[in-house]
Symmetry: C2
Subunit: 424 residues, 2 copies
């Protein structure tokens, strides 16, 4: 174990040293690295898929369930898609070097802020081997060095992919050591990694709630937390019913396993008798189970073929991550706002309304990373927001909120051009 | 103790509840609160000074040293100055509500970011009672609720000042509960406060290194760390000697007890024989003790009336906070950059040069909150940077770097105006 820790520390120090050079690496070199990665993913397809097959067979033999196996699996098509996503990141503007708030002070000092990389980013993740590429590429683009620590179940795939990244980056002129991969999957190494606050500037966890909790509680450095989304859609009394059905259907059904999917539907009492039967019928066709409060139940109970369950207190504020929705009838926008304030997780919240004032009040008063009027919460995503790609979605208020793209992986420094000024 | 903790929790919950309303309080109400505070500080001068006298006499009787007593003391002039600083904050633009990056996506969604307060800020501080006003005013201006926890030694002064803030804010229409003051000075309450990450969004510690360390290590929520400044000024071979003397003198002497004061002077070997005798003579007049490396020593040792000490390894990377400077002769800009990379604390660093390339390399390559060409590091200050006022100086890279003004006490949320969009 001692030598594994020493190796980890050596890798971390190498990443730190490389990060100093990465900070002023040219856009050309960074983009060249990304083109190389995209090309190599295709050129080395056989090698990568062979490594993935080893992981897949071991996982299958160990009894991993089908959903997890699917996350683990790479295919020629998936590699094509990953390679093409890398090119999309290469096409983004380089966030580093942007100079903003530049001005001349009365004493002649010219002062402004210049965007710089964060430094060294640690990624700790499970299952999906594509995370190795996603996070490496976003970190390289934003000038950060990276320490990758993937899960045991994907170790062969991750090793092969990390090798692709390292070789492609070096060939482009990225400083050696900028991309580090921890081969050793011993859990104690993660604990050690989480204490290296003098080297690692930010930890990005990607995986289940257990992993994220473990990391948030133990990391000595900042962690991008988030991912937990208890998302409400509120149907105002003035809502256009057709839009409200389409949006709530999309928010719940289009991809129910993700954090921006609808969890609780709040419906104004005045529109509930007209609206609820329509959305319930659509949801029922898609297999959605509805946990209804008493008033919603009394509207829907006579309707055939619905999966209705009386809601309990645990249903409010619950992230279902499946085809389950809680439904509550409210008497006013205020009651909806209070419910969201109490039970929301600060991720994504929506109002459906044809009136101006309720829309503006909702956008102003709801305290969440993303607040929508008349659209599906499923849009909360770096790609959908035009950020190109994301490393995660933050529900914290410090540093960055919502989808984290390449710009959110940067900081700034103040630069000051003087001509001999001393402070009076 | 139980009832003190319950009282603390009740105050924290009240601050949280108020913070929701504070988020969309009008600029007019916030500024009115600040005008009221400024007026009341003058109108209630006698009451405040009487409370301060109690603290001062107790501190004097307990044997507090003169420097600490001076920090504790309020006077009519100091209150005038504090009241006038409050008006300066009122005159700043309101950071909250700024909408940026707003654009229309191809699917018609109109999306942008809107600046919002952080929520609830906890301030834990020692000695100087003016911090009660400074932090309250910056938090009110930026729409944050605040929990104030001052030191035992200034409890009467802080209570009187917090009462002024609370009454002035309420009179202006700020929601009740937005300004909380913890009267109980029991230390265990601080530990309890530091665990309330579900309520407090950010902790600002103001005080000595011991307090900052205690808080950074124990807080469950983000802490604005910083304050530690190991600041270098590098005199390049091409420096204008007169400017270099004036700047280094200012950086060391103008206020030696603060974090942006010069700690180490790095001097290029080509200019050292001309430059060092001049700065050393000036510094000597101001009483500066110089901890010199061997080469600096050999240049200066024949010069009369200098306080010279041979430098030891501990002198590099040390924050002196007094009239002491370390001096090292280097052979190149690269050696200076390496020294700063190794020993700097990421606070403020300066180069003095008449050549273009060294200036640009220094500004690009040094990784610090504030990087200067041809100016004194003493300018690192919210007021000097045109931010109006500051709650502290951050040497972290996440969220905000350098002086933290009202804008840095905010976050943003994404606001999305749709017209029925669902995700394909």
């Amino acid at each position: 174990m001692k030598s594994a820790i020493e190796e980890l520390e050596a890798k971390a120090r190498a990443a730190k040293a490389a990060s100093r050079r990465m900070a002023y690496l040219s856009t050309e070199v960074k983009n060249k690295a990304l083109y190389n990665i995209s090309n190599d993913l295709l050129a080395k397809k056989d090698e990568i898929l062979a490594a993935n097959q080893i992981d897949y067979k071991e996982a299958e033999a160990s009894g991993m369930n089908a959903a997890m196996l699917d996350r683990l699996m790479l295919s020629p098509e998936r590699l094509d898609s990953i390679a093409s996503d890398v090119l999309a990141v290469a096409a983004l503007p380089d966030p580093v070097g942007e100079i903003f708030d530049m001005r001349t002070l009365p004493n002649g000092l010219q002062i402004g802020r210049k965007r710089v990389p964060l430094g060294v980013i640690g990624a700790i993740y499970e299952s999906r081997p594509n995370v190795t590429i996603d996070i490496s590429v976003l970190c390289l683009k934003s000038g950060n060095a990276i320490i990758l620590r993937g899960g045991k179940e994907a170790i062969h795939s991750n090793s092969a992919l990390a090798r692709v990244v390292q070789q492609a980056a070096t060939r482009a002129g990225v400083p050696d050591g900028a991309v580090q991969f921890i081969e050793n999957t011993d859990r104690t190494l993660v604990n050690h990694l989480l204490k290296m606050s003098n080297i690692i500037d930010l930890i990005i966890p990607r995986g289940g709630a257990g992993l994220i909790k473990l990391i948030s509680e133990n990391a000595a450095m900042p962690v991008v937390s988030g991912g937990i989304g208890v998302c409400h859609t509120y149907i105002d009394k003035s809502a256009d019913v057709a839009k409200a059905v389409a949006i709530a259907f999309n928010a719940k059904v289009q991809r129910p396993t993700v954090c921006n999917a609808l969890d609780t539907l709040l419906v104004h009492a005045d529109i509930a008798p007209r609206y609820l039967p329509l959305i319930a019928a659509e949801w029922a066709k898609a297999g959605v189970e509805m946990h209804c409060d008493q008033r919603a139940l009394s509207i829907l109970e006579s309707q055939p073929s619905l999966k209705l369950v009386p809601a309990t207190d645990e249903d409010w504020g619950k992230e279902f991550l499946s085809l389950v929705a809680a439904i509550k009838v409210v008497d006013s926008l205020d009651e909806a706002l209070e419910h969201i304030e109490r039970y929301g997780s600060g991720h994504s919240e929506a109002i459906i309304t044809e009136e101006y004032q309720p829309a503006m009040r909702f956008l102003n008063e709801v305290d969440a990373a993303c607040v929508y009027a008349n659209a599906s919460t499923r849009f909360t995503d770096g790609g959908q927001f035009g950020l190109g790609a994301e490393v995660g979605i933050s529900t914290q208020k410090l540093h960055a909120r919502g989808p984290l793209g390449v710009k959110e992986l940067t900081s700034y420094k103040w630069i000051i051009f003087g001509s001999g000024q001393a402070r009076p």
